[in-house]
Structures are given as structure tokens and as C-alpha cells.
Amino acid sequence: MAQIAVRDRSAFAESRPRSTVREFFQQKSTVAFLFTLPLILLIAALVVYPAFYSIYLAMLSKRMDRFVGLANFTFLFTRETFWMVVKQSCIFAITAVIFKALIGFIVAHLVHAIPSEGQRKWRGMLLVPWVIPPALSTLAWLWLFDPSYSAFNYIIEGLGGGPIPWTGDALWARFSVILVNIWIGAPFFMIMYLAALKSVPAELYEVAAIDGASWFQKLWYITLPMMRNIIAITTLFSLIVTFANFDIVRILTAGGPIDQTHMFATWAFKLGIEGGDIPLGASISLFMVPILTIAAIFILRDINKRGERM
């Protein structure tokens, strides 16, 4: 409708002297349209269009000369690696998000518990993992996990244990990628929860203390209900980001050993960009859509609820 309005007015403006042209450009709807136009173009051309284009791409043959319908998807269903990727992505996302949320929650409470003059300093240190570009910090982890020079194994061997194949063994490799993800993501939860904790009115705790509530009752009946919304939004948001993660797995294991740590994103990259099979890569990444949609719906619901309440 904005477009129609513009067209009508421009036709109108042309038939009038120049001052009307200037007037037209000061019309509220014209200005609003011009202000949002770049945003609309960007989202339409580089987000919405490619999203739908990838559905079309997923239905082409490898050389992209033939329409094959759902053949790429049915082919994926027959591949064992595909099911492994589904399993690994779910394990990775769920485990990592739970631990990030737990650690973030604990650390937020710890920071909140100390005198407020010192909080800034601790918060600053604890957020460092989130600030370093993930690709670069994962390199440090790769070096910490190095098969022959692992600094962790040095400590473990010093304590009398055997060397751990951090990225060489499937189970350990899964543990390692999750650990790195927790390291990078937990500070985000900490910051969000800390902000939420600070917004809980102190009187509530004072009243509860007068009534003789235990720390657990305060946590269960005051802190958690007051933080419910922010916990939900942060968790869902992190679920999306973690599920679609690329950097960590790509650098730490590159999907190995024998494709056992691949996520949707890394596997799509391997087959689609490196392997040159763009339709297959597109169909793999499309499998992320259902879970992302569900998370997005819940986030939107929570944010609207939050907006109404405030």
C-alpha cells in the first residue's frame, strides 16, 4: 500500500509546480517509505529470496540441469551419515544449551552475591570468551586438544592419568565440541541472567526473609518466576544459534573422526561448497528449518508477552 500511495502522489505532484514536489518528499508516508526502503530491499533480496530459492535448489539434480522433486531428501534418508548428523545436532544443541544455561545461572548468582563495587571487574573477566571471535578462540582450543602436545594431557599425565584423545575419538570429540560451545556461550547467559536478577525488586526478598523463607524457597518462589521470561527467551535464542553452529565443529574436528561430529551446517558446507553438490547441501541445511521455526514462534510469543507486561 505504501507503494500505491507513493505512485498516486507522484502523479499528482508532477502536475503541480515544484514546491509540491518538495512537499511530496516531506509527506509522512513518503519519508517513511524511503527510510525503510533499503531495509526492505536488503531483507527481500538477501534473506527472504535466498530462503525460498534454497527450497527450489534442493529439488534439482547435482548438476542443476534437471528437476528431481524430493529425490535429494529421500536420498538423504537412506544415508547413515544423515541420521548421525540429526542425532549429533540434537545432542550437541540440547546438551550445550542446558549446560550454558546452568553455568550462566550459577555464575550470575555468584556475581550478584558479591559487593556491587567488585561486580564490574568480575563480569568483565567472565564475558571475555563471548568477545573473542569464535573462530579464533576455537583455534586455541584446537591447540589445547592437540594429539601430541595437548596441554590438558600434560596436566592429566602429571596427575597419573593416561592421555585423552580429545578430538581423535568419536565420544571425546563430541565432548570437546560441546565443551568449547559451553565455554563460548555461557557468558551470554550469565549477562542476561544477571540483568534479570538485578531487575527483581529487593523488597520481595526482604519480605520473604521476614517470613522465614529458606534460600531454596526464595529461589523457587521469587527468583525463578521473576526470571521466567528472560530464561525462556535466552534459552530459545541460544538453541537456534547452537543448533545452527558452524565455526566450532568446522575448526575443531572438521566433522571427523569419520563424520561423527558433523552438524547440519558443517555437513552442508562439506557437501555443498567443498563437494560441489549445491542441491544436496541446500537440502541438508533446510532440515534446520523445522526446529528453528518452533523456537522462533516461542520467542516471538514470549517477547510479545514481555512487551505487553512492561
Binding site: 531483507i43 538477501l46 571471535p133 565455554w183 542476561m192 526478598y205 534460600w215 553452529n245 547440519f264 512487551g307
Partner: protein, 306 residues
């Protein structure tokens, strides 16, 4: 479930919270526990960057010697000076700076006017568009890189303009990550500005553009700084897009350059890789050190409306 798993440490926290605690000694001990656990978590958080520094200060021979990897016996700055004088690394750095600065500029030029229009000039569909912007922010780049790759290849076939394997392709790609979020948080900041302010300006005869530039931008400056920091951090740290879209050494940005070029060398020169990673992490870390409050404001604004 969450509560039981938490019990040992958060009991300390919760008790410290209780200002009306009956015994002062209890509170003191709770505080000590809190500090102890904070030290453990901070140690965990700072260990990898610290280990980057430790390794970066070592020579290759010291790294391969089977000595304590956690200690530097003969510290040297050779890795850092070698990198800083190497033309390849300088190219990575230069590409990263150009891309990040231009992406920040593009992002702010698109998102500030759009956020202004969406929060102040209610028009048909503005509510839907604002929600759409937020949804776009939730679309991960891992979903779009393959269709975008094919789109740019087709674009070259049609127009002859090569985008793939050119650093400036990133100027098209990064805004898809930065603009939605920056628009979203700017909508929030603009919404918190009292309506009387722009009404007064409009009555005094200011145009919409003047209202935006002379009133909203100065008043919402903290929000703009937070959005700028966010856009810069994202542009600096992006890994998937440059990895997929650029391959020639002279077109690479820092994140990909360090991870691919230095590792692909015949010998894994870990001292140099870690020094490079630390130098690459330095710009966001420095910004963070000086503008921590803006950084955190931007971080927490994403999940709230206004």
C-alpha cells in the same frame, strides 16, 4: 531440576543475598565461597586466551620440546613481529578492517532511518515489518550461505560482475546479519524517547529528516554506539561467509586467513597461529575493554522490547 543441581554454589549466593541474615559470620563465609567459585569460573573463562599468549611467546623449538607447556622459559616476541611485518598477514588485517568499517557504515545507514520510521512514523504494515525484522535476525547464516553462493554465481553469469572470491562480496553478506539486530535494538531505543520531543520539533517546522538527525540521533547516541559495537564485532568475527565466498589469499579476512593459511603450511607453526589469533582477537577485546557498558547494553537489549 535446575534448583537441585545448583544447590552447592547458589546456596552461597542466596545466603549472601539475605541481607537480614541472622549471623554476620555466615554471610562472610558465603562471600568467601562465592569468590572461590568465581575464581574457578574466571580461570576457566580466561584459560584459552591466556594459553594463546603463552604459546605465542614461544619459539617453535620450545613448543616441540617436551617441557611444561604452561610456562614460557624463553619468551620472545618473534612470532608477533614476524606476523606484523608479513605482507600476507597485513593483507588479512587490512581486509578485515575495511570490511568491518564499511559494514558498520552500511548497517547504520540502513538501520537507523528504518528504526526511526518503524518506531515513530506508524504506517500500514509497520508492525508486521518490525516483527519481520526480528524474525530475520533469527535466521542463521548457515541456512542462507548455499543459496546465496548459487545466487552470486548466477549473477555473474548474467551480468559479468564477479562477486565470489572478492572481498567486497562480504559487504553484501554481513549486513544480512547486522542490520536486523541493529534495527531491532534501535527501535527499542527510539521507542523510549518521549513523544513530546519529536512532536515539538515537527510543530516548530522541522522535517522528518531533521527530527531524526538533530533530535533522535543525539538522544539515542548510547543505543547507536551499542549497535555500532555489535555490528563491528559481528563483521570482525564472521567465519562461515568468508570461508565459503573467498578463497584467494589476497581476498581473505583475518578469521579465515589465520585458520586456513597458517594451518595449511607444511609445518604447524603453533606459536605463530596463536600469536595471530591473539592479534585478531585484539580489536574486539580493546573495544570491549573501553566500552564494556555499551557492549553489555547492546547484548541485553536484543531480548527485550524497548
Amino acid at each position: 531440576m535446575a534448583a537441585t543441581a545448583l544447590s552447592p554454589s547458589s546456596s552461597a549466593a542466596a545466603q549472601a543475598d539475605a541481607d537480614a541474615g541472622p549471623v554476620g559470620g555466615d554471610r562472610k563465609w558465603a562471600l568467601r565461597w562465592a569468590y572461590l567459585f568465581l575464581c574457578i569460573f574466571a580461570g576457566f573463562a580466561l584459560m584459552p586466551p591466556l594459553y594463546m599468549l603463552i604459546t605465542g611467546l614461544k619459539t617453535s623449538s620450545e613448543i616441540s620440546a617436551a617441557r611444561n607447556p604452561w610456562w614460557v622459559y624463553h619468551p620472545t616476541l618473534a612470532n608477533f613481529t614476524e606476523l606484523l611485518t608479513s605482507p600476507v598477514f597485513q593483507t588479512f588485517f587490512k581486509n578485515s578492517v575495511i570490511v568491518a568499517v564499511l559494514v558498520v557504515a552500511i548497517t547504520m545507514l540502513i538501520s537507523v532511518p528504518a528504526a526511526f520510521a518503524l518506531s515513530r512514523m506508524k504506517f500500514w504494515g509497520s508492525g508486521i515489518l518490525a516483527t519481520g525484522v526480528f524474525l530475520t535476525y533469527l535466521v542463521p547464516e548457515t541456512l542462507l550461505f548455499i543459496p546465496l553462493f548459487k545466487m552470486f554465481a548466477t549473477f555473474r553469469d548474467w551480468t559479468g560482475i564477479e562477486l565470489i572470491n572478492r572481498w567486497y562480496v562480504l559487504l553484501l553478506l554481513y549486513p544480512t546479519l547486522t542490520v536486523p539486530f541493529c534495527t531491532w535494538i534501535m527501535i527499542g531505543y527510539f521507542a523510549s524517547i518521549p513523544k513530546e520531543l519529536d512532536e515539538a520539533a515537527l510543530i516548530d517546522g522541522a522535517s522528518w529528516t531533521q527530527t531524526l538527525m538533530k533530535i533522535f540521533v543525539p538522544v539515542a547516541l548510547p543505543g547507536i554506539i551499542a549497535a555500532t559495537i555489535f555490528a563491528f564485532t559481528v563483521a570482525w568475527a564472521q567465519f562461515l561467509y568468508p570461508l565459503a565466498f573467498t578463497t584467494s589469499q589476497d581476498q581473505l579476512v583475518l578469521s579465515v586467513g589465520i585458520a586456513t593459511t597458517l594451518i595449511r603450511a607444511d609445518v604447524f607453526n603453533w606459536g605463530q597461529i596463536m600469536a595471530g589469533a591473539l592479534l585478531g582477537a585484539a580489536p574486539p577485546l580493546i573495544i570491549y575493554a573501553f566500552l564494556m557498558d555499551y557492549y553489555i547494553a547492546g547484548l541485553t537489549a536484543g531480548a527485550t522490547k524497548g
